[in-house]
Amino acid sequence: MKGTFSNELARFSNFDFPSFLERVRKEDVERVLLKETLNEFDFLTLLSPSAVEYLEPLAQKAHKSTLAHFGRVISLYTPLYISNYCENECLYCGFRHSNPMQRRKLPVRKVKMEAEEIASSGIRNVLLLTGESRIVSSVSYIKECIQTLNQHFASVSIEIYPLEKDEYASLIEYGVDGIAVYQETYDKNLYSTMHIDGPKSDYLFRLDTPQRAAEARMRQVNIGALLGLGEFQKDVFFTGLHGHWLQNNYPEIELGVSFPRIQPQAGDFVCEHPLTDQELVQSIVATRLFLPHAGITISTRENSALRRNLIGLGVTRMSAGSRTQVGGYSLAAAEEGQFEIADKSSVYEVREMIEQRGYQPVCKDWQAI
């Protein structure tokens, strides 16, 4: 198959989403509920308003599917921000270039201090993040940081600016085994109004990033849309489609899907399509049924009570003990983070919460081989 995902997206360029969603009847949802393998239109059916009254049976089915494929296990990781310099102008983000915030980039010895602090909590998987500035946070700087992190963690993933395939290949040599890259919105027009300047304004380059990483033989590829920017059904649908396409063309990858919702951040951005908790649950269970083997991540953007309730609905991975400030763990950094953390629980408290739900928190789920 191959080609690029944008070819796949093009099939829907004239698709009338509102009309489809409006025409879904109860019988359609019931038919999909009985199916073992869903196609893309079944998936969209589950995202329709008519599916809302079937949320409980959908949740039960998503629960059973997750249990069969993942067991009663939640993998934990902690994000580590090493730089908040950014060349992009993304209207919704606290790190946007025009935001007059204190900018910081950690020298490698301070990355080590941060790593030691995180590792002392028992976390063995770390997600390395930077604002998107290739000039300040060069690939060579990131490689140095990864070498340091490998001494403290069994698994290192990255969420940085999109790279070329050969750059991903070289980071894999240094010990990276996963990436997270969110398209933010799959609506090309909306995308250009949200990303008004900087390299991130290149929609297609970002869209093809998961494919480049997969071609470089990255082990884990995590995708998602920033829910709240556009109409959630379209972005969740296209995220699912993207995951499905990646699995079909790169079956070796461990696919992960995240559901970040826009939360308060620095600046005056107004979210036009805020996602309710119910819509978030609908998105998660529908995605679980469409992609039964994909990992599903919920970060500390969501509060502890909601995260507790999402366990068992398809979630397999959670961040814990998170700080979004650069130097937030060991250096008492007080400047603004990328977004406000809703769940400020410690790693210990998150582990306890997971155990109380009858699940096992797993801190190590991979290691460099």
């Binding site: 067991g71 296990v73 063995r124 079956p251 070796e252 696919l255 190590k364 081989i369």
Partner: protein, 256 residues
């Protein structure tokens, strides 16, 4: 009745092999292993954490009398499987290794070609190799030639709990392969396990169905009994099923 189960010269005390993934806690896993009376338990190297505290180190929860068999879960090709096996041995997990090479994370089906390569390399290094495979006779023969200690054909895809969907191919393997045949993956109920044993499999490996059951300890006990029952049925020469009825008073009995 003497009915030893031997793999690579080792007498295995139970034909029920248990996987340790997907459990809600290490303690529950330990209690389930005890209830199962499994002699061989598999564990993913990716989950073994020798640097963590006692509470997090899965190895601390495995009964000492069990044979710990690491698996190469996460390996996408032979090279990765070989590396994982060596790491497991260096971590003190012994010489037993279950090879899982899965290059398809959608259906989790094993890659037989890469499994054969890994088997040959690891067998030469002195590992007791138990390869998880798609039940193909030609590949099973290649695995035997490569030095496998047993073969582990899948019953149905991992996590599906669909039972012995591959029964006809497994029957062929039982007939033709002299190594122990351990049916692995997709066994969802004790009756599935009994069926596999009645077909002539030497053992069954179960993970998902036990770990995710409402009562894993009780479920493990049920599987253990079912596997024992299936083996006894096989040894007793249980009659094959027929398409048509057969009268119990034969027509030619008068000739005798």
């Amino acid at each position: 009745m003497e009915d030893p189960f031997i793999i690579a010269g080792h007498t295995i005390k139970n034909r029920f092999l248990l996987g340790t993934g997907k459990f809600a806690s290490h303690l529950l896993m330990k209690n389930t292993i005890t209830a199962s009376r499994a002699h061989i338990v598999t564990v993913a190297l990716r989950r073994i954490d020798t640097q963590s505290s006692h509470d997090d180190n899965i190895l601390e929860y495995l009964p000492k009398e069990c044979i710990t068999m690491p698996n190469t879960s996460g390996a996408r090709n032979a090279d990765e499987a070989i590396r994982i096996a060596r790491i497991a041995r260096a971590a003190g997990c012994g010489d037993w290794i279950k090879i899982e090479v899965i290059s398809d994370n959608k259906y989790l089906l094993p890659d037989n070609a890469q499994t054969i390569i890994a088997t040959e390399a690891l067998a030469k290094e002195g590992f007791i190799v138990m390869p998880y495979m798609n039940p193909d006779l030609a590949d099973a023969r290649r695995l035997c030639d490569a030095g496998a200690a047993s073969i582990m054909p899948l019953g149905s895809p991992i996590g599906t709990n669909k039972g012995v969907c591959m029964r006809e191919l497994i029957k062929i393997l039982v007939e033709e392969i002299s190594l122990p045949v351990v049916v692995d993956a997709g066994i969802g109920r004790p009756s599935h396990a009994a069926e596999a044993m009645e077909l002539g499999a030497d053992a069954v490996l179960v993970n998902t169905a036990v770990a995710t059951a409402q009562n894993p300890v009780l479920t493990a006990r049920a599987f253990s009994l079912a596997i024992e029952a299936g083996r006894l049925a096989y040894c007793s020469g249980i009659s094959a099923s027929k398409e048509t009825a057969e009268a119990s008073s034969p027509l030619t009995g008068f000739l005798r």
